[in-house]
Amino acid sequence: MIRTDKLVFEYIRRDEEGNVEGITRAVDDVNIDVRPGQFIAVLGHNGSGKSTLAKHFNALLYPTDGEVIVDGMNTRDSEKIWDIRQEAGMIFQNPDNQIIGQVVEEDVGFGPENMGVPTEEIWERVDESLRAVNMLDFRKSSPNHLSGGQKQRVSIAGVIAMHPKCIIMDEPTAMLDPNGRKDVIRAARALNSVEGITVILITHYMEEVIYADKVFVMDKGHVEMQGTPKEIFSQVDKLKELRLGVPQVTLLAHELKKSGLPLPDGILTKEEFVEELKKLKR
């Protein structure tokens, strides 16, 4: 679905006369292969290059070196750019700054309008996308009256209405309260499992990662670790080194193991933890 090949991206800083002051490598030699239908999470602390990477998937940024292939199309190919943006939808961090319409349904219709979809079909798409994120009741509301989580779900609906094969979410929950966060993640997971849309979730909340099929951990532009959540979270010390926390349960299990309890590595959920503890009792 999305493949990067030795992807490098450099920000060039210039002084007032336009001379090059310095070059920052935001993304450095990244090779990622995302297969259709996967739920992918990209982890990393601030400045690790994860957002820069995400913008490449949508052809908002072009590689300095290397290649990004989205569904067989190279993002350098300027004729394919609109097809790429339609197939790989993007959700941004700030819900206020990505809603264009003054009414919820008009905003959801914005993408299809741009694609030149006939009017009747736009209405069908708006209906189905708002239903998919459970926001149909708010279709006539003004976005200014919605909560952060609701606004973010409207943005998701706006992307679904374009019938993408893949949705890239760039820290969609960073500005939300815990409830809004849950709603947005639930919507993303439903899209992945029900509609089969590939989801790439970029985040620094560990709890959102545990359901992913595959996790990439980024640091200083490199992919430092990759694997299933279990594989990633069994390396608690390595994650700490990268200044990333682990879910509370995982941390507890890890500490207990260090103190001598024979627990397995990479416990992700409370249920799993309880099961393992029960096994120990026997």
């Binding site: 949508n58 908002l60 609109w82 943006r85 339609q86 939808g89 993007m90 941004f92 700030n94 206020d96 700054n97 990505q98 809603i99 264009i100 319409g101 003054q102 009414v103 349904e105 008009e106 219709g109 914005f110 993408g111 299809p112 309008e113 741009n114 694609m115 030149g116 979809v117 006939p118 009017t119 736009i122 209405w123 708006v126 976005p143 200014n144 009256h145 706006g158 992307v159 374009m162």
Partner: protein, 267 residues
């Protein structure tokens, strides 16, 4: 709450005028303005007034709402009436001190007053019955021919609707910044006007920075959603003329013909 602010002066209610296509209302207002400057006698004004009253009645907008807009132009109205009254040469009716009031002056002043009142009432009736959104759509569609002379009609209307969307957000932000600065002892309320203007700087700078940041984010989000200008774009809510709109156009044409005919008559 700031976010409940109504823009323009749209009055929300159900009526046949509200339902009309915005293009009809824009053209209608224009026709009405032309008409009141064409008629030149009492019967003509009576007809125009009747037409206006009928529309107000049909629009279900309370009359006091319509006349609220009048308050702001009251001074302008008074000035133009007084100037016409005192400074028109002709048959003196009576003289107060050095100021002559002439028959012609009285006529002209009355005419001016009626025209101005009709003008304001007519155009505020349009803004009262049309949402800003609809108004933008209507304008875009009416001004479409200007594209031939390279006026960016679609872009202008897109800018207008984005501005409308962001005004409440920026207002809220202003409020937040103001409180944050007040918490750090900024003073926005006392001092002379010049001082107060100077004190606005710590409010305006962060506001502008954040507005630019929002603009950049929004532009990126629009691009990510395949926005590439008006070319090849379809409409979710295209403007379509219904039966009522056609009837309204016929009524407008009749009104204009009557006004022109009556305006030419001599009594």
């Amino acid at each position: 709450m700031l976010r409940d602010i109504t823009l323009g002066q749209y009055y929300r209610t159900e009526s046949i005028i509200h339902k009309l296509d915005p293009r009809v209302k824009i053209v209608g207002t224009f026709v009405f303005l032309v008409a009141i400057f064409m008629v030149n006698n009492a019967i003509g004004y009576a007809i125009a007034g009747l037409f206006l009253a009928m529309n107000i009645k049909l629009s279900n907008v309370p009359v006091r709402f319509i006349f609220r807009g009048m308050r702001s132009i009251f001074l302008l109205l008074m000035i133009s009436v007084l100037f016409n009254l005192f400074l028109t040469p002709g048959d003196p009716m009576f003289t107060v001190w050095k100021i002559k009031v002439t028959k012609e002056g009285l006529k002209l002043a009355a005419k001016m007053a009626v025209r101005l009142v009709f003008l304001i009432t007519g155009s505020s009736l349009m803004t009262l019955t049309t949402t800003p959104n609809n108004l933008t759509d209507g304008l875009e569609s009416i001004l479409k021919p200007l594209k031939l002379v390279h006026v960016p009609v679609h872009e202008i209307s897109m800018m207008m609707s984005i501005a409308l969307r962001f005004i409440p957000i920026l207002l809220e932000e202003t409020d937040k910044i103001m409180k944050a600065q007040m918490a750090r002892c900024a003073d926005f309320e006392s001092g002379s006007i010049i001082n107060r203007a100077k004190n606005m700087v710590p409010l305006l700078v962060p506001l502008f920075i954040s507005a630019f940041r929002r603009a950049m984010d929004l532009a990126m989000a629009m691009e990510a959603r395949c926005y590439r200008g008006g070319e090849g774009r379809t409409k979710m809510k295209p403007l379509v003329y219904h039966k009522e709109d056609k009837v309204a156009y016929v009524v407008l044409v009749l009104f204009l013909i009557i006004c022109v005919a009556v305006g030419r008559m001599k009594f």
